[in-house]
Symmetry: C2
Subunit: 451 residues, 2 copies
């Protein structure tokens, strides 16, 4: 793994996979990073001019383009750096989101910006508006019931832009799998090998579909970035869509990698967050449906939900979309996904999938297996590649490693969709100024509705 | 240039640049290629299955993905193979094309399919329908006045797909430049160095903008594929968006290449088709407008013309869109461009640019400088990166090297837009079954309108 070419793609896969894992690292003393305002890509001047000056260019490899502060530009321009496959919205008219009236939108905006909450990490109270900068927010959209009540764009993102969803991609893949389960096309109790015979010699062979969807497989997959032999590096090398060096002898693509993973513990014993499981779900979904994840996402979601933009996914060298982290999409279209979850499969008055799909996810996985790797989520669970939050709020979420989220609060009938480019790949640093902010907002909107 | 990585991208640039040049090669005796039906990507089974079987995969390098018959799949999937930049249609509703009534569309379809013409190369007469297969047509759309009268899709293309436009991209770039000229923002008589000082030591320094737009520059640029030192290889290596080998010491990207080209003859003396000139126009356009070609294409064309799909362009390693050949777009959106030319800047009742833009192009360049490299076009000319056909038909065209065209016949008020994936990069093999077919169709539609 000495070649810069086989190393390329490593970090992008790596940090997509690292959600929360870094919680175990002690925070080293280091200079404070640039603030959100200081690191705004327009302020930094990345990629401006023809050509951009050499010190303002953002290029391969990923150690350049996905390091802070460059990553604040790159999250909106993944397709310029890597091959991708489209998720078509089709050719029809987009179905506009419903907004509260202009005056109401303005009033709610002022009141929401002024909401105060106390971060979980001992920092003093801050306002909602301050939290947007604290979390390096690039775009945020809030629904109450089926209406947009709040929408803001920052940094590289505008309403017609697309942003890397990172590990939120897993929840898209999990949703497609759960739809196949609800439709009776995928048996969650089947052994993976009975659906994908290619994994016969892999640790996935004896896992059940449900174990893969809940990430309770006993698959060896280390994400220790300090270890040059860690699996994450081999996975990233296999997944790279760029030409591999002539000395490369490892697996080519997601599927070949998955077919050779080794066991490390028993299937079903415990939740262990690992990107490979999401890609295994992607393989299962494709084998059962006869369609790639990107094609199925278009057919089942992007086309019928009235999306206003095509989305896209990065691919490996044989065209497989990266089901564990490759999605880029518009903020409002991620909002449509959130609304579909809140409304249990219905959008624009049309049912796209059975209510049972969302009810299963809300029901959650087994909290006993979830463990305590995620301080803010202890007591919660992970099922069908969705996070199920602990507590009384009846919240599910998709989460990406730089602060991306689709947060659905069924009690308050609130959906919060956020794209962000937090400097570090550590949701444990983002949760303390996000979870209480989201709870404060949900409480405010619920109370406002009750008035 | 021994590394497979630095060679990658070579062929795609090469064949985009080769329109018509291969006329000088004698046709070697070789087995007949697969027919259009035999080489249909769906029949070949390319990239089907999860994963596709090894012998059905289409991957880097371009010597694989852009060789026939694989290229018949690749022309619809460039973004899966290379980094790209989007041309946004915006977020509004597409403005549907106007069609003749359903019954009329069906009747015209039958009659057009049965039209007979005599190829220019001595082959016996064939029908319009036979010509579609002879030219490996992937999609074709015909307007009479402002109505669609004929539309067909084959091979890899559907109405919601996108196809490589190859050298038709030049005409998009030329149109943007001509708009800037008409708006008084670009002086066609200025020397290039006065707009782009970086070319001070390049053969472009003393050329005028008009000479670059008409490809009459005296720039050294050889496209002899048999010569390993030919400029085309160096250009392709510079343009590749993939990581360059550690031993690579040449220019990085389109702009660095353009800044170091050497002279070979006098500026203004003769038309000589060379892709570098189109990229130089792209640089000029970007410097003057402050926007990339892709951004300007979105702002000036895709958004206001009511496009139904985003388009995209390939990029070099620093994000520069390939103004000489990188566009992929939907067939109907290329039709909207053709309609804009026919209607001299107006579409959907709205003027997008001054009529003078199209009038200049229709006026043509200097036929005396055009030479005889293109047998079917002798007496014609090339101006603003558009082909101006000889004869009484008042025809202009965008042309791509595998049979792609936007053909605008002002006399007959007919626009023909074609995507194709002809096995060889030789329009001289495609013109004989295209030009007389287009003339027969234009005559038929004109006569039908007069009845």
């Amino acid at each position: 793994m000495s070649s810069s070419i086989t190393r390329t793609w490593v970090l992008l896969v790596g940090i997509a996979a690292a959600t929360g894992v870094a919680a175990q690292e002690p925070a080293p003393p280091e200079p404070a990073p640039l603030t959100a305002a200081q690191s705004d890509p327009r302020v930094m001047g990345w990629m401006q001019g023809f050509p951009p000056p050499p010190d303002k260019r953002i290029t391969q490899p990923d150690s350049v383009y996905f390091s802070f502060p460059r990553l604040r530009w790159s999250v909106c321009h993944i397709r310029q750096l890597l091959p991708t496959i489209g998720i078509s919205r089709g050719l029809g008219d987009p179905v506009p989101l419903r907004y509260v009236g202009d005056r109401e939108l303005e009033r709610l905006g002022r009141e929401i910006d002024a909401l105060s909450f106390t971060p979980l990490d001992g920092r003093p109270p801050m306002t909602w508006e301050q939290s947007l900068a604290a979390n390096y927010t690039d775009g945020i959209l809030v629904f109450h019931r089926d209406r947009v009540v709040y929408e803001r764009y920052f940094g590289c993102l505008g309403d017609d832009g697309k942003h890397a969803a990172m590990s939120m991609t897993k929840s898209l893949t999990g949703l497609l799998a759960q739809i196949l389960v609800a439709e009776g096309r995928l048996d969650e109790n089947a052994k993976v090998v009975d659906i994908v015979p290619e994994v016969a010699r892999s640790a996935y062979a004896d896992a059940t579909v449900r174990q893969v969807m809940d990430m309770t497989t006993g698959v060896r997959y280390s994400e220790d970035y300090a270890d040059p032999d860690a699996d994450i590096w081999q996975y990233a090398a296999a997944a790279s869509p760029l030409p591999k060096g002539e000395d490369y002898a490892g697996p080519n693509g997601y599927f070949e990698y998955l077919a050779q993973v080794q066991p490390e513990g028993a299937n079903g014993a415990a939740f262990h967050y690992k990107t490979v499981d999401a890609d295994m779900v992607g393989w299962i979904v494709s084998r059962v449906s006869g369609k790639s994840v990107s094609e199925l996402a278009s057919e089942q979601l992007w086309r019928p939900m009235g999306a206003e933009q095509d989305a896209y996914m990065t691919v490996d060298a044989i065209g497989t979309p990266y089901a564990g982290g490759g999605l880029s999409a518009g903020l409002r279209d991620m909002g449509r996904l959130g609304l579909l979850m809140l409304q249990e499969g219905v959008i624009n008055g049309r049912r796209l999938f059975p209510a049972e799909v969302v009810r299963h996810i809300r029901g959650g996985g087994d909290p006993a297996r979830f463990g305590n790797a995620y301080p803010a989520l202890v007591g919660g669970s992970y099922t069908s590649l969705w996070w199920v939050y602990p507590g009384e709020h009846d919240v599910i979420a998709a989460r990406g490693v730089h602060g991306q989220t689709i947060y659905v609060d069924f009690n308050a009938q609130v959906v919060i969709v956020r794209f962000a480019s937090f400097p570090k790949a550590q949701n444990t640093l983002i949760d303390p100024t996000s979870i209480p902010a989201f709870q404060a907002l949900a409480g405010y909107l619920q109370a406002a509705a009750d008035r």
